[in-house]
């Protein structure tokens, strides 16, 4: 392996007081990968990132970067750069001084610093603002300055903690794309924390899904979206996430209430209680299936999100076109066998492929 920036975590534990923030996580991040840490609030993403950076010491476990154990080393010795959620720009320095600070601390010759600063600033298009102070910049410009400060000394690892969360929606979309391009052009391993799954899906090569201090799935966005490994991931990924029904697995078929769906090939699993997951976009309105009553319809412009009541359970259905519905309209919901996700009801683990 020639490229640098290979990161692995082994059995990382972290407790704050009596609270177990990380319950022993393992992670392997390949060089040049854009890797997202995705999970709900409080699941331990930031803690993981800070442990990677060396700002927090794990109670147990090892951190390896490029084959070296860095568990006990200082943040400055790890050759990693981080962009903080609130950017943490030094308010008393100009942008040039902010971006140049890591170089100065690294002992780069004084006369070389201005050029390197200008190059880094140019990459994120803030080279015309170098004489200003952070207080005189917009949120987006500050965010770019934080990026420039991170890339200027070409670290082997980038750590980004929700770098886009303080930007408005429009800017967030634009910056997302630029960030990805920047990462590609720099060829540097990037670990990116977000709780916005759409962001993770679009930007990451691979991602790890965090839940309650554990990593519950690692994979490409496609894998995570299409093959959630547990009912918890299934309930978290997708907006809105998939509908989960209680069902019974029988010989060659699965039953939800009285609705029976034939399975093309019988999964390798004993008959019994299962959880059946179906994404809102995979549910059709038809004349057979689960009887449902319309509860609320949301017009999203190009599509519709319909909320049905099946018995007492709320079921979300995404309709690719906009139609009019009568209040309390009754219909039936059906889905194709290839769109069904099956989970063991006890363990919550995925059944079959």
């Amino acid at each position: 392996m020639t490229a640098k920036g290979h990161v692995s975590l082994h059995g990382i534990h972290k407790t704050f007081g009596t609270f177990e923030a990380l319950k022993g996580i393992d992670l392997d991040i390949q060089p040049v990968e854009f890797f997202a840490l995705l999970g709900p609030s409080g699941s331990g993403k930031t803690t993981t990132l800070r442990i990677l950076a060396g700002l927090e010491a794990p109670d147990d476990g090892r951190i390896m970067i490029d084959g070296n154990d860095v568990t006990g080393t200082q943040p400055g010795e790890r050759d990693v750069a981080m962009v903080f959620q609130n950017y943490a720009l030094y308010p008393h320095m100009t942008l040039a001084a902010n971006i140049g600070f890591p170089l100065k601390m690294d002992g780069v010759a004084k006369n070389k610093i201005p050029d390197l600063v200008r190059q880094a600033a140019a990459r994120v298009k803030i080279d015309h603002l170098l004489h200003r102070r952070p207080g005189q910049l917009s949120g987006g410009q500050q965010q770019r300055c934080a990026l420039a400060r991170a890339i200027v000394r070409q670290p082997r690892l980038f750590l980004l903690d929700e770098p886009l969360s303080n930007l408005d929606a429009q800017l967030r979309l634009e910056t997302r794309v630029e960030l990805k391009k920047l990462q590609r052009s720099l060829d540097v391993t990037t670990v990116y924390v977000t709780h916005d799954q759409e962001e993770a899906m679009t930007i990451a090569d691979r991602m790890a899904v965090f839940l309650d201090g554990d990593i519950v799935q690692v994979g490409t966005p496609d894998e995570v979206f299409n093959r959630p490994l547990s009912v918890h991931v299934a309930a978290f990924i997708g907006s809105p996430p998939m509908n989960l029904f209680a069902g019974q697995l029988e010989q060659g078929a699965v039953k939800v209430g009285d609705y029976e769906i034939k399975l093309p090939k019988s999964p390798d699993h004993a008959a019994g209680d299962v959880t059946v997951g179906v994404r809102p976009s995979h549910i059709r309105l038809s004349d057979h299936g689960l009887p449902a009553r319309l509860y609320l319809s949301e017009n999203l412009g190009e599509s519709m999100l319909l909320n049905f009541l099946v018995d007492d359970q709320l079921v979300k259905v995404r309709l690719p076109e906009v139609r009019r519905f009568a209040e309390n309209e009754t219909t039936a919901l059906s889905f194709e066998p290839e769109h069904i996700h099956l989970f063991d009801q006890k363990t919550g683990l995925r059944i079959g492929s």
């Binding site: 950076a53 943040p75 400055g76 008393h92």
Partner: protein
């Protein structure tokens, strides 16, 4: 009709408020103004009854106080030396300590912080008694080093405590970013923290200087002919047999002029310092 009546009532009310407030305001400035007036009179004019408002002002008292037989000029210099040394020494010691209290992990930090706070509450009379004996023993009575040492007892706890509250306001990420930028702890303190608490340091400097300049109990008892701060020198003009009010007023005004200038110029910072203490004081450490 009704509206103009209520408007008039509001105006009356406002007028009353301003009058009441101004009266209190007058109570605060009056002694100073009166001192200025007295300082411009001759000693015999001072004793005229009834006191005259119209008189021929003279600056004789000022020139006497500054350059006369009992000039306060040497004392002004002494006060300047003592106050400046105290301030510099305090800041040098207090800044790192405050940084550790505000930011660093340290065993027993809570108790050490509490200790620092507690030392500030010691009544000065409880210190002047042992200090007199100690300084007497080591020959430091009436010396600059003795005086500055004693002044550290009030300036240091106060400075640490005030600086901590300023340093706590700096976001932690700022430092963490610096660590990742390969700055060591000392560089972080120097390049990142210090520039951002410049305002706080300025407030602290003002407070220490003010307190050191105005100090009296230590000065009168632990000083002497060599180290006689200006607060003690005031008594040159007060004696049982004869009190030179006009000269005393002139000397006092001269001695207080630097403080008055600082007070007015740094009014905002002083109030901020008072309220930082008031809002965060105690409890925090």
């Amino acid at each position: 009709m009704a509206r103009s009546a209520s408007k008039a009532a509001a105006a009356r009310r406002n007028g009353f408020l301003i009058a009441a407030a101004s009266l209190l305001l007058l109570i605060w400035v009056f002694p100073l103004i009166w001192a200025v007036i007295v300082s411009l009179k001759s000693e015999s004019e001072v004793l005229a009854y009834p006191p005259r408002v119209i008189f021929e002002p003279t600056f004789q008292n000022y020139s006497d106080a500054l350059f006369g037989g009992v000039s306060i000029l040497p004392s002004l210099v002494t006060s300047l030396i003592v106050s400046t040394s105290t301030t510099i020494l305090t800041i040098i010691i207090a800044v790192p300590a405050a940084y550790a209290f505000a930011r660093l992990r340290l065993r027993g930090k809570k108790w050490l912080g509490f200790y620092t706070l507690a030392t500030q509450m010691v009544p000065p009379v409880g210190l002047v008694i042992p200090y007199f004996l100690i300084l007497n023993k080591i020959g430091w009575l009436d010396t600059f080093q003795g005086m500055v040492t004693v002044y550290l007892t009030f300036s240091l706890p106060f400075a640490i405590w005030l600086l901590v509250s300023y340093m706590e306001d700096i976001p932690r990420e700022m430092e963490e970013a610096a660590f990742l930028d390969k700055a060591n702890r000392f560089q972080t303190l120097w390049h990142i923290i210090l520039p951002q608490v410049r305002g706080g340091i300025a407030v602290t400097v003002i407070f220490i200087f003010l307190n050191a300049w105005n100090e009296f109990l230590f000065a009168v008892q632990l000083g002497g002919n060599t180290v006689r701060p200006v607060t003690v020198a005031m008594f040159n003009f007060v004696s049982v047999e004869q009190t030179l009010w006009a000269k005393l007023s002139a000397a006092a005004l001269v001695a207080m002029l630097p403080m008055i200038i600082i007070g007015i110029a740094a009014q905002k910072q002083i109030v901020k310092g008072l309220t930082v203490g008031a809002v965060k004081g105690g409890g925090r450490l």
